[in-house]
């Protein structure tokens, strides 16, 4: 019997517009076996999707949108903003 397994894609966009350009991407794939190598830091030069909208068109579902960043010159910057978590359930 087939089982559904989850794939997670985390995209960071240049702005809060879901059509803006992808500047960060990470994939965690629940369909891969333990001994297989997941996406590694620094292993891709081009993002899998140009934007969150492009990923949605390919079947990914947005399951979390980061709050709009509250920041100023006085607070500086830290983590990447505009983070979107997407999932895809795959039958294996």
């Amino acid at each position: 019997m087939n089982r559904l397994k989850q794939q997670i894609l985390i995209l960071h966009l240049r702005s809060g517009d879901l059509a803006s350009a992808t500047v960060g991407w990470a994939r965690y794939d629940g369909t891969m076996a333990e001994e297989e190598v997941q996406m590694q830091a620094g292993d891709e030069l081009e993002p899998p999707y140009s934007s969150v909208l492009a990923a949605m068109r390919d079947g990914w579902q947005v399951i979390q949108i980061s709050p709009a960043p509250e920041r100023s010159a006085a607070t500086g910057t830290g983590q990447l903003a505009n983070e979107y978590v997407l999932q895809r359930m795959v039958s294996v």
Partner: protein
């Protein structure tokens, strides 16, 4: 235990970093040189590194050093000590962290052939400001040197860095969720190179897809003096420098940080050059005075 780097000669002003080089460090968080180390000396260090491995594995007699002695290879290799005592190397260090910096710790990182996994993105220690002890000066920074004795092509997986990330405030492993980021850069290139890296820069070790062992020797240096006017500050506010910061103000911006990072960078530049901070009655630090 921290030790001081021995000063054996006086550094000439002309050998210190120029304002152009320092501006590049402020913008990107690192500088890389391939012309500071004589090839014969570089080869001697590489041979010392090769003596510490058997095939692709670290020899047992060197293994304990990685745990018990945080500067074992530095102690072992006269040649590597000589490299870091070269006037040209010390001139760059002095420009960034001042004379007689403390050698906090060092390590010879050895990556075997066909290692498939990357290290996670991380920052050594903490971020640039808020994560520091309250008595640390906000513009204090350490320098990490990354010394590559042999050619390290892209597929050999030299250290991956994110230029400009030294301006962000994060704690060590909090960025491990990220995998690929626009602008990430592997420090690939020929042998005999040494990079000087701001301690807050995001970085990680990379997989080695070749048949050869990869070596990278690093030292973390702590400044012993306030980091002001340590380089050749002649021309610190000339038009060329102003244009440099203006032209590149969006270079390392990823998710809309320019408006915050730009003024922060300019304030740091003023501090480094030993001049008064900009006067901005609005308190918003958003006016156009970029240098």
């Amino acid at each position: 235990m921290a030790t001081e780097t021995k000063a054996t000669s006086i550094i000439e002003t002309a050998d210190l970093l120029s304002v152009g080089q320092m501006a590049q460090f402020v913008l990107d968080g690192y500088l890389e040189f391939d012309n500071l180390i004589p090839e014969e000396l570089n080869q001697a260090v590489y041979e010392d590194q090769l003596r510490s491995v058997s095939g692709s594995a670290l020899k047992d007699e060197f293994r304990w050093n990685q745990v018990d002695n945080r500067k074992a290879f530095y102690d072992y290799s006269e040649a590597v000590r000589e490299v870091h005592d070269l006037p040209a190397v010390r001139a760059v260090l002095q420009s960034l962290v001042g004379p007689n910096p403390r050698h906090n710790h060092s390590a010879c990182h050895i990556t075997p052939p066909h290692k498939q996994e990357s290290q996670s993105w991380h920052v050594d220690g903490g971020g640039r400001r808020r994560m520091r002890l309250k008595n640390d000066h906000p513009y204090h920074f350490d320098v990490l040197t990354a010394y590559f004795t042999h050619d390290v092509p892209y597929e050999m997986g030299p250290t991956l860095i994110l230029p400009g990330s030294h301006m962000r405030h994060v704690l060590g492993g909090d960025i491990a969720r990220y995998k690929n980021i626009a602008g990430q850069k592997r420090l690939e290139g020929k042998g005999g190179r040494i990079a000087f890296i701001h301690d807050a820069i995001w970085h990680c070790a990379q997989p080695n897809q070749t048949d050869e062992t990869r070596f990278m020797f690093k030292i973390r240096f702590n400044p012993a003096v306030p980091q002001q006017q340590l380089f050749n500050t002649e021309g610190w506010d000339n038009q060329e420098i102003r244009n440099y910061f203006l032209r590149h103000r969006h270079k390392n911006a990823l998710t809309g940080e320019t408006a915050a990072v730009g003024p922060d960078m300019v304030d740091w530049w003023h501090y480094l050059c030993g001049v008064e901070p900009r006067h901005d009655p609005s308190g918003l630090r958003t006016h156009g005075d970029i240098a």
